[in-house]
């Protein structure tokens, strides 16, 4: 067995996590091309990540806990409205102080952070991305993930006819590990758009599609969600998911490959 290079170890993990900036990712890929040891190590790391991320490893909250928390919050709400305002404020202020203390520490940690990671927040004012994330979150919350629920692409595609004025590509990616869950019509950026829903393990991927003439290509992170955008066949396609950037990129490539060019 060829040993992986110790000096590339950190970059290898950053690469596996999709956390390197473009320059370092490229640098690592060039090294990877000529180093069997690191290539094998990367495969092992990806397999390990997959093994840990599999279903049933997480401990979701039990229905009893959900009810318990909801009840505690209800009690808290009624207590709060019963409390005299002044007493309530000082109590709150003390608690705010706690949280402020906690939240200042991480920001200092960020200041001290390494320079070769993607640190830049996406610039503000790009409300479309916020809308997409909001729509993604809403789709998870309100049990309104799909209007038409099926894994059959030939059911989803005709369903859109008459609801929107374009024909979104609905592709079958089950063999690639991204089963189709269904579709729905959504409203983003001031227009009606098609949303396709795919799954990867426990993660939901929302694919938003609408016609667009302007070219675009972007990958970003917003509020913990990963977004990928590209243009294909005169359609602007946006992916929104809490899936990690590496697997989301994989999805993008599979989707782009299967959809009409």
């Amino acid at each position: 067995m060829i040993r992986p290079c110790a000096e590339w170890n950190l970059l290898l993990h950053g690469y596996a996590d999709g956390e390197l900036d473009a320059a370092n990712a490229l640098k690592f890929e060039q090294h990877l091309g000529g180093c069997g040891g690191c290539a094998a190590e990367l495969q092992r790391v990806m397999a390990l990540k997959q093994a840990i991320a599999q279903d049933q490893v997480s401990w979701p909250a039990s229905p009893a806990l959900k009810e318990r928390v909801a009840a505690a919050l209800r009690r808290e709400t009624s207590m709060r409205s019963a409390l005299p305002a002044v007493a309530g404020t000082s109590l709150l202020s003390r608690l705010f102080d706690h949280v402020r203390r906690w939240s200042l520490v991480p920001s200092m940690a960020i200041l001290a952070a390494g320079v070769f990671l993607m640190l830049a927040r996406p610039e503000t004012g790009m409300s479309l991305q916020d809308e997409l994330v909001a729509s993604h979150v809403r789709s998870l919350l309100a049990n309104h993930l799909t209007d038409v629920e099926t894994s059959d692409q030939h059911t989803v595609k005709p369903w859109f006819t008459g609801k929107i004025d374009f024909s979104p590509p609905v592709v079958d990616l089950a063999s690639r590990g991204f089963p189709l869950v269904g579709g729905r019509v959504d409203y983003v950026g001031g227009r009606v758009v098609a949303a396709l829903i795919y799954r990867r393990n426990g993660h939901v991927i929302n694919v938003f599609i609408w016609p667009s003439l302007t070219a675009s290509n972007a990958t970003m992170e917003r509020e913990g969600y990963n977004l990928v955008n590209w243009k294909q066949a005169e359609l602007s396609i946006w992916l929104v998911s809490d899936l990690n950037p590496v697997e989301l990129k994989e999805f993008k490539e599979d989707f782009a490959e299967a959809a009409p060019k």
Partner: protein
């Protein structure tokens, strides 16, 4: 990253009242959906099913009361930071009650020498007997993964849970755990090496996944 300014002590009651109603509704939308993630982290940190539920309830109450201080950013990282702090409180409480020394697993967590130790040069890893390839060829059952994770030192267990199970970015993990991003990366690298070693040792000891 924006940090909120504290409201003035005894601010106008009308505004506070309205803010509460709006805050409660937003809390439902923004923070409540992370209940599973909160429980998962509490469960892995405490290693105790009952304590995990208490920690989550406490964290949610605190989060609810402090929600006025949340100004965007990752809501998941925000609630997980509170869960983590509630876990620290819970454990400090445990230790006070039991009157014992701090847990062994924490003693290495802040030791830079331990953090940066060269993984590839460790002599005590049984590299030769079982190659990583054969290990990964064997499917890891979920409950086995849980056991191995539970056996890792806390700092490494926490990093893996936040990254692989909760899919937090390095930046978010840095926010939650108050360690620099560079350390997040080296800790994850180290955590995976330790996980692989623990897994290997499990197999070497003849404990096949059930």
């Amino acid at each position: 990253m924006s940090h909120a300014v504290l409201p003035a002590e005894g601010g106008t009651e009308v505004r506070t009242e309205r803010a509460h109603a709006e805050g409660a509704a937003r809390f439902q939308d923004v923070i409540l959906p992370h209940l599973d993630a909160a429980h998962n982290l509490a469960r892995y940190l405490s290693g105790d099913a009952t304590a995990a539920e208490d920690i989550v309830q406490e964290a949610y109450l605190r989060a609810f009361r402090a929600f006025g201080q949340f100004r965007g950013g990752s809501s998941k990282a925000w609630i997980l930071t509170i869960v983590r702090n509630c876990h620290l409180n819970w454990r400090a409480d445990q230790q006070r009650r039991a009157n014992i020394e701090p847990l062994e697993s924490m003693s290495h967590a802040d030791d830079p020498a331990f953090e940066d130790a060269d993984i590839s040069e460790r002599a005590d890893l049984p590299r030769e007997e079982i190659t990583p390839e054969t290990i990964l060829a064997q499917r890891m059952e979920a409950d086995e993964v849980r056991l191995v994770l539970a056996g890792l030192p806390e700092a490494f267990r926490e990093a893996l849970v936040l990254r692989e199970l909760e899919c937090l970015s390095y930046r978010e993990i840095s926010d939650v755990t108050s360690i620099p991003i560079g350390t997040v990366m080296s800790r994850l690298a180290r955590a995976r090496a330790i996980f692989a070693t623990a897994w290997r040792q499990r197999l070497a000891a003849g404990k096949k996944p059930r």
